[in-house]
Symmetry: C2
Subunit: 200 residues, 2 copies
């Protein structure tokens, strides 16, 4: 089995959402799997590469329009959310707690969180929405809520983010396969060629 | 005849170079033309959109590698130049002086400047290289050199850059068609779909 593709995303990233809707079909097509990693690309994120995407960029007129067009280009439903730059720490903690137990279930939950934000305009910074989405997938609501608040989940996410920084991740979405880094939804065709025919 | 595609580029931009190698075939395929605009995206560039691409980004390990891979992906010859962030003011002035007289010749010269930088590792900040490349296309060397140094060329470029800022250009390469803005070589497929089937 060939190496999996690491897929890094922040739940507040519209391009991360679009990538989340596309990545599984892409890797499956090439007999690969994707390992999903929720991260939080905020003021505490210190990538080794000197690349910082200012928050103003995501609020700019250009990106507002580009996100809508890019979603349409990929055939992914998208409604610009009324709240921008939501805190995604709780969602990321919940993701890893699930992923360490059941990666497939964690992926399904992550997609429902993304859709809640970028299609249904829900407030995914709030624990209530996160737990409701988990319950809809059969996850025990009380256990999930307690896990998100647990110190172990905070530590788990911190380690994940540190690992992302060390590996040269600096934004969302981000893909790594066989040491090669691909930043942004628009590098998916380049990633696809890599999976098809190897390094170039 | 449908509206032309405005193509903005900085001669120091590797992605601008790759776009310059691709844009003519793309627009011709859809019965359009491209209008080329040389700009200088430096510390004096103040786009209305709050997007600034820090110089550190272009020097980062990620972009160094990404430029090589992106050129390979598009089948464009590319050798990482030994000098980075060259001043492109003289080249941009020369471009507009030519473009105002003969747009096709200006495009041919612009491509030869890009190739001199990104394939042959020449110093395109220097007037000597710019004039040599012009002479190779049959342009009068003395007249071209005088034109680049002329105050009118400085004013011409300044007006071009102000227009770019007003139109929401903030980086290189940048494309505008029918009011729609596309930033980056990786948005070419989105531009292509726009030309094929209109707004989406």
């Amino acid at each position: 089995m060939s190496a999996p593709v690491d897929f890094y995303f922040d739940f507040a990233s519209p391009y991360g959402y679009i990538a989340a809707e596309r990545i599984e079909a892409l890797v499956e097509q090439h007999g690969r799997t994707a390992v999903w990693h929720a991260i939080v690309v905020d003021a505490n994120f210190h990538p080794h590469d000197p690349i910082r995407i200012p928050a103003a960029v995501m609020r700019s007129d250009y990106v507002q329009r580009d996100a809508v067009r890019t979603a349409a280009f990929h055939g992914v439903p998208f409604r610009p959310p009324s709240r921008q730059g939501l805190h995604t720490e709780l969602a990321a903690r919940g993701f890893h707690w699930l992923a360490d137990r059941n990666p497939e279930l964690a992926r399904a939950w992550a997609q429902s969180v993304f859709r809640a934000y970028f299609v249904d305009d829900r407030n995914i910074a709030g624990i209530e929405v996160l737990v409701e989405l988990a319950a809809a997938l059969g996850i025990d609501a009380g256990e999930f809520q307690a896990a998100i608040h647990d110190g172990a989940s905070r530590q788990r996410l911190k380690a994940e983010i540190e690992m992302a920084e060390v590996r040269g991740v600096f934004a969302s979405p981000f893909f790594i396969v066989e040491g090669e880094r691909f930043w942004d939804i628009t590098r998916l065709p380049q990633l696809q060629r890599w999976l098809e025919s190897g390094p170039y």
